[in-house]
Every structure is written in structure tokens, then in C-alpha cells.
Amino acid sequence: MKKLISSLSFVAAAAMLTASVAQAHHSFSMFDGKTQLVKTGTVVRWAFNNPHSWLYLNVKNEDGTLTLWSFEGSSPTGLIQRGITGDTFKPGAAVTFMYCPLRDGRPGGAIGWVKLDDGKSLNPADGGCNGNAEPKEPLK
């Protein structure tokens, strides 16, 4: 019962957050919200900034080189209510993440969910991608 109450509270909180973040500061038309891709990478910078946060990640290419990818997330006020703060993603940390890509193909997108190396899953998403989407395996 306790678990049920806890989860229902989560549902209510997530619903409120989903609605409020969708209101955020700009249109999300630059993202392909219907495409959800999964990759692994290493945190370069977590910019816990207004009006939106940005997660910068080094992602290894097939030839072994690195590309810096940039992902937009929700605002700090929205994220704090989900337990995410300015030191949640530390430089050098390995993560698996889901994102909705920029439509023009540049290395960036809207962040969906992020899974830390210790197994903890987080939802830093804004309205551009669904941070509650079902987890998938990373792309090969």
C-alpha cells in the first residue's frame, strides 16, 4: 500500500511536471520528438542553467574519434523537483542516454532519460523528448 501511495504521488508529480515543462521557454520544433535514440557517452559539462539546462557529452564514433554532443533539458526549477541538481552529472561520468535528435542532423538533441553508471535512472527531459519513455539498448 505504501508503495502504491508513493507511486501515485509520483504519477501526480510527473503529470504536473510534464505539463509545466511543456510550457517552457521556446518551441521544440527543431527536435524530432518521434525518434528516440540511445547512446553511451561521457559527461563533459552539465550546464544547470536557465532558461534550459544542457548536457554536453563526448560520444565515441565508430573510428574511435570523439564527437561533442549537446542535449537540451528542462529548467533547474523543474529538475530540482525531480531530484536533479547542478552536480548530478559530473564531468567524466559514463552515462547511457536516450535523446530525440535535432532534425538537421547536427550532433545534438533533446535529452530523454539518462542512466548513470551506478544504475540510477534520471529524467532531465523538457518538452522536446519523453524522459519517461521505455528504456532501450544503446545503438551499436
Binding site: K3, S7, F10, V11, A12, A14, A15, M16, T18, A19, S20, Q23, A24, H25, H26, S27, F28, S29, M30, G33, T40, T42, V43, V44, R45, W46, A47, N49, N50, P51, Y56, N58, V59, T65, L66, T67, L68, W69, S70, E72, S75, T77, G78, I80, Q81, P91, G92, L102, D104, R106, P107, G108, S121, N130, N132, A133, E134, P135, E137, P138
Partner: protein
Amino acid sequence: MKLDFSRWQLAVGMLVLVVAPSFALAQGVIAGAGTGPPLTVIAPPQQFASSEQHYQFLLEQAKGGTKHTLTSVPRWDGLWVTAGNTHMDAFVEGGNFKGKVREGVLTPAYETAFKERWRQQTEEGQVHYDRLGHCEPPGLPRFLLEPYSHEFINLPTESYLINDFGPSIRRVLIGKQHSNLYGTHSWYGDTIGFWDADKLVLNTKYLYPADFTRWSPMTSNQFETLEIWQLKKYADGIERIEVQATFYDKFAFVKPVSAVYSFRRAVELEKADYRVNHWECDQTSNAYLDDKGNTNFHLPGEAGFNDGRGSTMFPELPGQTRDPIYNTTLPTVPNAAQPTNSNKGVTP
């Protein structure tokens, strides 16, 4: 690699996806889910020709208003976040994203403009561009529904309605008359007010053209507001500030439009010991209007990229980075002419 989400977490997640949109859209609430009982619009007691006439009527009803002291003025201390509103009910049938634009509420020119916004939102899922994307302040009426954090400070002769977006500050002068020494309009205009017991009645004029939000109608430079702010307390300790608003705009509306907005106490932010910080969109946003008329982003290494955590204009001095904790450096190409796809990886 196996991801170990439990079935329970997945079930809850799926339920959220199903429930969240309908919950958020209940009561015509498109911006922020409601907290507490459904929001109900209280229409003005009669139709007024202007916001000022409306204000004067209420002032007379309140016999000149309640003269509060520092000890009696209603206190709305703490942090607040938006908690739903009904503004779309006035403009869209059903007040949700499946509805059609109501005919005859907006003037023909504004109705046509709104229909195109609504087409983009409902057919394409997003409007192409939002003026906030190039860091315009929300202005009024958008101030009433923008997220981020809010503080409301009441004094006997002044009130300050603050959103950390920008930041935006509405200054309310209690018991004063309108004044416009600049001889022009502004994002938050000129707001006068009076107290009627625990209700704060506001009248705002001299506003810039703005909008309700990016998928909502635009407003003109003749937009004015009459707002009644009141803190209400409900069962289970719910505290909600409700704003009964009537909007006047001779260019945009056929007749005045009424809606109710709300703010709930941000208990999660208060528990986290959150502090409202000054931030400027200009220095941290990388959104821009591209040549196709869509919102796009400058990425690191591209011309126009703002590095909100980079160095100040004196990089030769020690300690000039804006991120003294992690001090990571992103690539910059100050003189690059066009966006590039060649963002090489960097070492933290």
C-alpha cells in the same frame, strides 16, 4: 548491456504517459496541471468599457479599499509555481489541443493570426518559433503562466510579483493613479492596485504587444488587465493563489475576455532550499530563428554560441570562468561564419 528498470517503474511510467496529458488538459488547463479543486472563472459583475472603469467600479464597491499595515497586509511568503489556468477556454472549443478556434472572440485580424499558430501547434505538434526563443521577456499576460519560480511580496503601499524568468518583476503601487512618464509602453506596463480585505485588485496599462503563450493568441499595445489575486487554502494543506483576470484589448478582442490563473506553493523547491537567482536569457540561451522560420540552436563551436559557463571578457586574468567548480571548456570558433557539424570531442 541490460537496463534494470523494474516492471513497477515501467508501469508507473506508462501510466504517467497516459494520465499526464489528460490531467494537464482538464479544466482547460494547458499550462501546468491544477492543484486543488477545479479552477472556475468568476465573470465581472457587469460589462465595462475599459479596464480602468472596471477597476474604479471595484474600488467603489470596496469603499476605497482596505488600508493594510505591515502587520495586517496578507503575506504570500515563500516560493510559488504556476498551477494551471483556464485561458484557452476563451479561445478554443474544449480548451484543449483537440479543439477548434472559437469564432468571433478575437477580431478578424487576430483570429486569422491565431488560427495559423493553432494550426502549427495542432497539426505539426509545435509552433515554428516562439518570441521567447530570442529572449524577449514574457510580458503580460504571459507572465501569469510562465513556469520557473515565483515570489510575491506584499507591503502596505507596494507589492512585488516576481518570476525568476529574466527576471520579470511586476511592481504594484497601492492606492496610486496610473502614470506614464516615459510616454511609451513596456513589458509589464504600469500597475496600480488596492486591497479589498485579503484580495489584491490590480489594473495594468501601457503594455507592449505580447501573447498569452506561444500557441495562444497575440495581444496588442492596447491590452490591459484587471486582476484579482487571492490566496486560498484547501484541504490537505493545499495553498493556491488564484488570479481572476479580465483582459481588455480593443485591437485583439471583440469583447473583454476573462480567465483564472493559479500558483501553488512550491513545497518541493522550498524543501530543496532553492534560491531565486538572477539569470539572463541572453547569456545562456542558444535558441535562434533560422532562415526557414523555425526555432533552432547554436551548438558549441558554431558562430553565435553563448557559453554561459565560459570565461568573461578578461580571460587573461585568473578566476574568470563562470563555472569555478568544474571549469570545463567547450570549443569555440568565434569567427566561424556558419554552423558546423565538426564538433570534435573535448577533454573535461
